[in-house]
């Protein structure tokens, strides 16, 4: 064979080898590109899902009730759909986990790659009926209970109207009250069913949150006797006016306030209605009257004909004496909880609310 005859096959073999190697490089490059695209799609999907859920929670500060009522635990309803770009879409669905818990399910999808990621977030929103239903007694007490003979803590009239109210004033709450207390009874006292180191709150709303969202605040060691204030037949919204619990038809009868303070408080007479949250001790004296929900981080003393209508949660001791009374009144408590619209914002479980994998 001539030299030309040897060189040509060698050259052809080299060309073949080059072609094979080039093809391999091309396949490798395409593989790398595919994996980068897939990884990017997964990240985009996750981001889209989270953005959707965060968008819903931030856009509905008044609570998930603003999204409408979800159908139930096993039926989710789509509340938001959107996109983060030409190919990245998200969808958020709402599921009802219980009276106060909701689940927001976010799904992010990248269309061409078909990648999809899901995350979920647990949301809690205060529900007045569920809150009242969670009460195990009129007075839930973390410390010692002392009730003198002429004083009283009673849950026998939990379904009754507050004293002095006109007939029918509690009709809007009648169905809920009959459902929660079919026999019209609630235990008078029970241990506070929370961690004894923590101060009583409202469900997932700790006392500190109530302090931050209060309509009216008082200084530590404060003393006072709040009273309804009316000018020209209209109720005046001043900090010393905590509403008129004795008559819902009076000008200040529909004024219910969230009163809170970081220290202790003494009510020397006076009246009010709504939610009273006291981080320290509360002393009610001389015919003081409060209707609604009373939360006390420290000690609660009720004396000298002072009266609470509603429900009470006390972190420390409860002392009721000298004709002081705590009357369980579901209507007063429900009315106070419904009026506290500032407490309707979504709350997330402190130990984590995001769920993945989901």
């Amino acid at each position: 064979m001539s030299r030309v005859g040897v060189a040509l096959p060698v050259l052809l073999l080299l060309v073949l080898a080059l072609a094979a190697l080039s093809h391999g490089v091309l396949v490798l490059a395409r593989d790398a590109l595919s994996s980068v695209r897939a990884w990017t799609a997964v990240v985009q999907g996750r981001v889209a899902a989270e953005v959707g859920v965060k968008g819903v929670t931030e856009a509905v500060p008044a609570g998930t009730d603003g999204l409408g009522s979800p159908p139930g635990l096993w039926e989710a309803r789509t509340v938001v759909e959107g996109d983060l770009g030409p190919r990245v879409r998200y969808r958020v669905r709402l599921r009802r986990l219980g009276p106060e818990f909701r689940l927001l399910e976010g799904e992010g999808r990248v269309e061409l790659e078909g990648a999809s990621r899901r995350v979920a977030r647990v949301v809690w929103t205060l529900d007045p009926v569920a809150r009242l239903g969670s009460a195990e007694a009129v007075a839930e007490v973390g410390g010692r209970v002392g009730i003198e003979s002429e004083a009283a803590v009673s849950g026998h009239g939990i379904g009754l109207d507050p004293e002095g109210w006109p007939p029918g004033a509690c009709d809007p709450y009648r169905e809920a009250l009959d459902s929660l207390f079919p026999e019209g009874l609630l235990a008078a006292t029970a241990p506070l069913p929370v961690d004894p180191r923590s101060r009583p709150g409202l469900g997932l709303l700790p006392l500190d949150t109530l302090l931050a969202r209060a309509d009216v605040t008082f200084h530590p060691g404060g003393r006072g006797s709040p009273a309804p204030e009316v000018e020209e037949g209209a109720c005046v919204a001043v900090s010393s006016n905590w509403g008129h619990p004795g008559d819902p038809t009076a000008p200040c009868g529909d004024r219910l306030v969230l009163v809170a303070g970081t220290g202790s408080l003494t009510m020397e007479g006076g009246q009010g209605q709504g939610i009273l949250a006291v981080a320290g001790d509360l002393r009610m004296d001389r015919d003081a009257h409060f209707a609604g929900v009373v939360l006390v981080g420290g000690r609660l003393e009720i004396e000298n004909d002072a009266r609470i209508e509603g429900i009470v949660r006390v972190g420390g001791d409860l002392e009721v004496r000298d004709a002081g009374v705590v009357l369980g009144r579901g209507c007063s408590a429900l009315r106070a909880l419904e009026a506290a619209t500032g407490l309707g914002e979504p709350v997330y479980p402190a130990g984590g609310s995001w769920l993945s994998p989901y």
């Binding site: 060189a7 050259l11 490798l28 096993w74 219980g98 997932l204 994998p357």
Partner: protein, 236 residues
């Protein structure tokens, strides 16, 4: 020029040209081989870094900093590795077990899994999963597949609506790879052993985890760098 002399010259010229051509082809082949090897190294490096970053990011975002994982030490990150979520079927609980619909990356395994259960007061309880029993029709409305009884230790009275399935594990940067160790088992590699010994897992400021991943591979190796993975939620 004679005919014989012309033939010799042409033969020499052809030989020289062919030699040059073969030499050029060999050079191209050699360079292409080097380019292919570089590309392979790049892809492996990219995969290694991408996988490590993706896995660690997903695991950290699934948990709560300070409760489900803490700052890494000595290139080791111990954590609760979440593997599924379950919705609790209401009104179907028993003193020591709950009926749930579970969805996750694998089936629950009482041998290695534990549960975080949310109660009605918003508190998470860590419980051992003692047994599971798949059922299909005990929770009205729930999908049949994935519905099962979970027997749990120390079930609280006020069972909430959600439970999370997790296993205890730890991630390690060791012997050039990201490795995962479940319980007291061995460290299984999750990536190719390409990482430089200087790669690190360490605590960052603000509760983040700093991940330094380096893939040695010569000049131009683009896959590597430093990332801080931030917690999505922190323990109160």
């Amino acid at each position: 020029m004679s005919v014989r002399g012309s033939g010799l010259t042409e033969a020499i010229l052809a030989l020289v040209l062919l030699t040059l051509l073969v030499q050029g082809a060999l050079t191209v082949l050699s360079r292409q081989q080097r380019a292919a090897a570089t590309l392979v190294a790049w892809e492996e490096g990219m995969q290694t870094v991408g996988i490590a970053r993706w896995i660690l990011g997903d695991e950290l975002r699934a948990g709560v900093a300070g409760r489900d994982w803490s700052a890494p030490r000595a290139d080791t990150l111990g954590l609760r590795a979440f593997r599924g979520t379950a919705l609790v079927c209401p009104l179907a609980g028993e003193p020591d077990r709950i009926l749930v619909h579970h969805r996750g990356v694998r089936h629950p395994d009482p041998e290695k899994d534990s549960i975080l259960l949310l109660d009605e007061g918003g508190r998470w309880w860590a419980l051992d999963l003692e047994a599971r029993e798949p059922v299909s029709d005990r929770c009205p409305g729930a999908p049949a597949v994935g519905t099962e009884w979970w027997t749990l230790s120390g079930l609280p009275e006020n069972v909430g609506p959600v439970a999370r399935l997790f296993e205890r594990g730890s991630y390690h940067l060791a012997d050039g790879a990201l490795r995962y160790r479940r319980g007291r088992g061995g460290r299984q590699p999750l990536t190719a052993p390409l990482l430089d010994p200087a790669s690190r897992l360490r605590a960052g400021e603000g509760g983040g985890v700093v991940v330094d991943l380096l893939v040695p591979g010569g000049p131009g190796m683009p896959w590597g760098g430093r990332w801080t993975l931030w917690p999505r939620e922190a323990a109160p």
